[in-house]
């Protein structure tokens, strides 16, 4: 009887021991994912979207990130992200290592496993730190918090050696792309020199000069020299309309459009035109992202709508970034080739009784409105929008219906969402928006759109996929 009781007690003790031991094993190594590579073609788009959202916030608040500079930066950070994970999806995608002259991307170690989301997280964090050295402290905290949040997640999901290798590789890729960007002396560090005191705009009838009310000097007059990815001298606009003060001339007729639209808006009319003008403006510093960043925000909405995988999302951001970069460079090249004046100066000089006329761009509340400080022809807005539209059409198809909600809920201007039946419709409305806001002629919009479509086609023709 005693022996039997003793055995029973020992069994109970062993059971207790087993329960105690297994209860303490909360960190079972089998928690680690069975697929440690985090295949970009199976992972969700969310990491890429989160970083691009942060990037737009930084672009908005960092000193010196005017539209063409922001566009160039989006090109390089987009390319860095793409190159970071391309080896994880090499069965479908090509790297641009060596394709762009001087671009030398480090190779991952052959036969070793990488966790591609960790690689990408490290690349984004390092790239943004490199490219936005003037970011305010609050934005830096956002960057480091996002990086840390993802790293903490990944450190539990992947084996330690894979995690370490991935982190290191992601940073190497970011450094390589940044170092390559620095070899382009005209573009490197441009946020520190957005104007050039030595630049004297040419004079003569119809030639651009600093405009009312603040007469700011020309923004980036030599930006056309910056290195492009795909665009070249063939990406140009036809000669603008001949300058004339004749009321029967084509330019006079074109000047009547912004003149009349702005007058209607100021008189409380043309609500649809005001909505379009406000919706696409993105000009006023700190109010929103830049007109280039706008199309990264549109890309994010499309990526989310289509629930794309991480690889596809990164590819779209890279394509749009490259396109925006080149759109800015070529638009600025053409602007400072033709030096065409803005509607404000034409209207004030030529139209009877209009010598105090002004746009409706970026009201400061004191009755003052602004005009961008660089020549009109072609429109940068139009070029940015068209390049993005062409890229989106190449990916999602031409007749794609969507609603742009990127300013939904804003109360400082009309950010109510607008819907489109095609990307070209979006691009053309964006280009047209510069007329009712009073800062462009129709020819600026038309030529900018045409040039943007051309650059977009070149971006889509790059050997992205196998």
């Amino acid at each position: 009887m005693r022996n039997w009781l003793l055995t029973l007690r020992n069994l109970a003790m062993m059971a207790l021991l087993a329960v105690a031991v297994f209860n303490c094993q909360k960190d079972d190594p089998t928690d680690i994912t069975d697929n440690p590579s985090g295949d970009p073609l199976k992972e969700s788009y969310e990491l890429a979207k989160a970083w691009n959202t942060v990037q737009l916030d930084i672009e908005r608040f960092s000193r010196g990130y005017r539209p063409p500079i922001a566009a160039r930066t989006l090109g390089y950070t987009g390319l860095a992200a793409y190159e970071a994970i391309v080896n994880g999806m090499s069965r479908e995608y090509n790297s641009f290592d060596g394709y762009f002259k001087g671009l030398d991307i480090p190779e991952p170690n052959a036969g070793e496993t990488y966790h591609w989301p960790t690689v990408l997280n490290a690349t984004y964090a390092r790239s943004i730190t490199h490219f936005y050295p003037t970011a305010p402290a609050a934005q830096l905290f956002t960057v480091y918090s996002l990086e840390q949040d993802y790293n903490e997640k990944f450190r539990f999901e992947v084996p330690n050696d894979v995690y370490v290798r991935s982190l290191d590789y992601g940073r190497q890729v970011a450094d390589a792309v940044f170092n390559w960007s620095r070899t382009d002396k005209d573009g490197d560090g441009a946020f520190l020199r957005t104007t050039d005191p030595s630049y004297v705009p040419p004079t003569g009838p119809g030639k651009w000069q600093p405009t009312f009310p603040d007469y700011s000097p020309a923004l980036l007059p030599y930006w056309g020299k910056v290195r492009t990815f795909v665009a070249d001298a063939t990406d140009k606009c036809p000669e603008p309309l001949a300058y004339s003060t004749d009321p029967n001339s084509e330019i006079y007729k074109q000047a009547l459009e912004p003149f009349k639209l702005v007058n209607q808006i100021k008189a409380g009319g043309a609500p649809s035109e005001l909505w379009i003008a406000d919706f696409w403006s993105d000009d006023c510093a700190t109010l929103t992202f830049t007109p280039a960043g706008r199309f990264i925000a549109v890309a994010s909405q499309l990526i989310e709508k289509e629930k794309l995988n991480l690889g596809e999302a990164v590819e779209i951001y890279a394509r749009v970034g490259l396109g925006l970069c080149d759109a800015g460079i070529r638009a600025w090249h053409q602007k400072f080739t033709y030096n065409y004046e803005r509607p404000i100066d034409y209207i004030r000089e030529v139209m009877p009784g209009a010598n105090t006329w002004n746009s409706v761009m970026c009201p400061d509340g004191s009755g003052r409105y602004f005009t961008p400080p660089f020549p009109a022809y072609p429109s940068g807005h139009a070029t940015f929008g068209a390049v993005a539209a062409e890229i989106f059409s190449g990916i999602f198809g031409e007749n794609y219906q969507f609603t742009d909600r990127c300013h939904e809920g804003r109360t400082e201007f009309i950010g109510k969402p607008r819907s489109f039946n095609s990307f070209r419709q979006m691009a053309e409305e964006n280009a047209y928006s510069r007329l009712p806001i009073g800062v462009h002629f129709r020819m600026d919009a038309t030529s900018g759109v045409a040039m943007g479509y051309g650059i977009g086609k070149k971006v889509n023709s790059l050997p992205w996929r196998k």
């Binding site: 207790l16 830096l140 903490e152 510093a285 700190t286 509340g365 004191s366 109360t411 201007f413």
Partner: protein
């Protein structure tokens, strides 16, 4: 107590006691360093927040109510001296106390931004040390490496006083 019970008790103790993790001294030292770096980061964040909170409060007091509400709200929200200057017409009408406060806050923000970047480098170096440590532990005891990993992650989320 017979030898089986003694053995069982020892096993229970070792299974549940985190103090028995290998490389205790090195791990604790790395944990302390991690906490210190995190606290420095939190201190910077707090400094920046209170710095710009003061500016916002001041702007809310001095900006005229006649200013368009959207514009006013935007200007108060901006936590950047250079960008505040872009609200030209209103910026130039601000009183000297407000202007000095904005200028000084901008200078401090730039200095702290530089310190944050420096801290970021230190944190990356420390992270490298932690990861090397985890790999070393993992070679001997993968379970212990996971427990250490958890401790480091907990430490990185701890609030500082």
């Amino acid at each position: 107590m017979n030898k089986y019970r003694f053995l069982a008790l020892c096993l229970v103790c070792t299974a549940c006691n985190p103090k028995e993790l290998p490389f205790e001294e090195e791990g604790k030292s790395l944990l302390a360093e991690l906490k210190q770096l995190n606290c420095t980061n939190q201190r910077y964040e707090h400094t920046i927040d209170s710095l710009w909170d003061k500016v916002s409060t001041r702007l809310d007091q001095v900006l005229p109510d006649t200013m368009p509400s959207g514009r006013r709200e935007n200007m108060i929200k901006i936590r950047n001296a250079g960008l505040l200057k872009q609200f030209k017409i209103f910026y130039t009408t601000l009183d000297t106390v407000s202007l000095n406060l904005i200028t000084r806050s901008g200078q401090i923000d730039s200095l702290i931004a530089l310190q944050i970047m420096e801290l970021k480098v230190q944190r990356e170096t420390q992270e490298e040390q932690v990861l090397n440590f985890l790999m070393k532990v993992e070679h001997q005891n993968p379970q212990a490496a996971l427990q250490w990993n958890k401790k480091f992650l907990q430490a990185s989320k701890e609030a500082c006083q």
